[in-house]
Subunit: 322 residues, 2 copies
């Protein structure tokens, strides 16, 4: 068995996973990122120890895989930088953990790990070439080409969220203007709702709620309850996603695009505009080819993908993936 | 030896190429596309026959490779459609030529062939992952990942020219709005010059010349002679290219982007704006990584790439490429 770990900014999730992708045990605990990196590593260690204790009846653990929200230097096993783990710069995480646990640790970027989870057990089982896009606080992505993560020269590839949608658009935290993330994330929805409200449109929901309280989830619930302002924001999000995916599809002629992340719950509010843009903007053949779907591995995608790379590292080429 | 053929809308170029990428003989003749597909095939046949006649002292010919301006069904050896060869739809070109010539024919899209020519003997010798962009009447592209052309599910990948730069931009012939091709092709330069002129700016060059006469080459010569309107058009072209390449680089973290095609001659007029946009828009590490350069295989890129796929087909894996 292997342990797959999903190291998030808020929670650490981990699971014991068998070679066929079945989750045999799972645990979750707060990351406590604010308490420093030593504490986070302690927390990962404690969850691994707890799972190891359970594992004896399951045949023991032979490797760890971990998805990390940041840029990884794969050769050295070092986290170069992480936007969600403050102060994490040049952290030799493989060395820090692997010795202490006494088994090999395989690393992957968290969006890439979730993409592999979808490939192994979710919505991308049947394809070799796809893009996984996660919609949440930001917009993350993982690109799978010929069945493998495309890392690029520095392990930085897959940043779909930072394709430019409108070169004169709002300034993104990455320094660029008009990135996809500025139209398709929870923060973007907040901004678009403020814009719609300030243009004079009324909302039963957002008249009284203060800005800070408008989470992605609140906006989704408002849309479900029929709020027009929220629905318009989701339509704009879908349209921006469609513009980006049309470029992606013209460039890579992919088989699938898979949407995960918390905001993908609002699928029915943004997917019609998304499909409309792809159809009207991309070349006919690639637009017909690409299937645009919701993720299917759910909350488990990250730990499954992490477990997959652990099996892959162990076996040299990976467990049975069709 | 093999013969590499570059089937263009205006000329057919062909060359005898040895396994080390040296051109031993070359020929060129008009395509005569307007005279129908049978005539074009006859013309290809006649150039092949002529080169074969020369080849005896060189050891004979064992295969043909051909770059074609269109979408290819690789499995069936059929040209699905070609924008530059009117009336070419579902043409079984491999069957039509290969039997008549009596040797195997390997096909590739023309921009992909030129990309392989640059990989084999030109500006991309030293990298495995790059994008080749050809600037001419339109904007074509070939994507090389892990040393191989990325074809995508339908052989349609690599259409860099049809990434969206401005979603509300001018209508492109492909149906989309604001494609890169609408800012970085000869036609785009014409349109931008008209815009600059109609905004009241004066040009010594384009006051008298009628629209139809403004070719890319004329605009380039005007820029060289100091014409401000032309220089502004090239700066806008560079800026649009930079916006597109920043997205490309965030998505694929490539080692190089190589610019070929007739308009790339105007390099010094558009590359500063291009580099500026990439630097200000792409993530720091991929922006530092990517080298943005001019093509080096020149006019031969197409026939060399075509010869390369012929050698590759013959040898199973290709000639010595570092």
């Amino acid at each position: 068995m292997v342990i797959g770990i999903d190291l998030g900014g808020t929670f650490i999730k981990a699971a014991i996973v068998d070679p066929r992708g079945r989750v045999l045990a799972r645990m979750k605990r707060p990351t406590e990122a604010a308490m420093g990196k030593e504490r986070v590593v302690d927390n990962v260690f404690s969850i691994v120890r707890a799972l190891k204790a359970v594992s004896f009846s399951l045949g023991g653990i032979s490797a760890l895989g971990m998805g990390i929200p940041g840029v990884i230097d794969f050769r050295r096993g070092v986290i170069s930088t992480s936007p969600n783990l403050p102060g994490w710069e040049n952290i030799p995480i493989r060395k820090m953990l692997s010795r202490r646990v006494g088994m090999p640790l395989y690393l992957e970027n968290d969006a890439n790990a979730a993409a592999l989870g979808e490939k192994w057990m979710g919505a991308a089982k049947d394809v070799q070439d796809f893009c996984f896009i996660t919609l949440g606080t930001g917009v993350g992505g993982g690109l799978v080409l010929d069945g493998k993560i495309w890392h690029g020269a520095d392990g930085m590839a897959g940043e779909v969220g930072h394709m430019t949608i409108d070169p004169d658009g709002p300034r993104c935290r990455c320094g660029n203007r008009g990135c996809l993330e500025m139209y398709a994330s929870a923060k973007a929805l907040q901004r678009m709702i403020r814009q719609v409200l300030s243009s004079g449109k009324r909302s039963r929901f957002f008249g009284e709620i203060r800005e800070k309280e408008i989470s992605g989830d609140v906006i989704y619930r408002a849309a479900k309850a029929g709020d027009r302002v929220s629905r318009e924001a989701f339509a704009r999000m879908g349209s921006a996603l469609g513009i980006g995916i049309a470029s992606l599809v013209n460039l890579l002629n992919l088989e699938k695009v898979v949407f995960g992340g918390g905001l993908s719950a609002a699928w029915k509010f943004f997917s019609p505009a998304l499909r409309g843009e792809v159809k009207s903007r991309a070349f006919a053949a690639p637009a017909r080819r690409v299937r645009i779907v919701r993720a299917a591995a759910g909350e488990d995608a990250g730990v499954l993908g992490a477990a997959y790379i652990a099996w892959q590292g162990r076996a040299g080429s990976g467990p049975a993936i069709r």
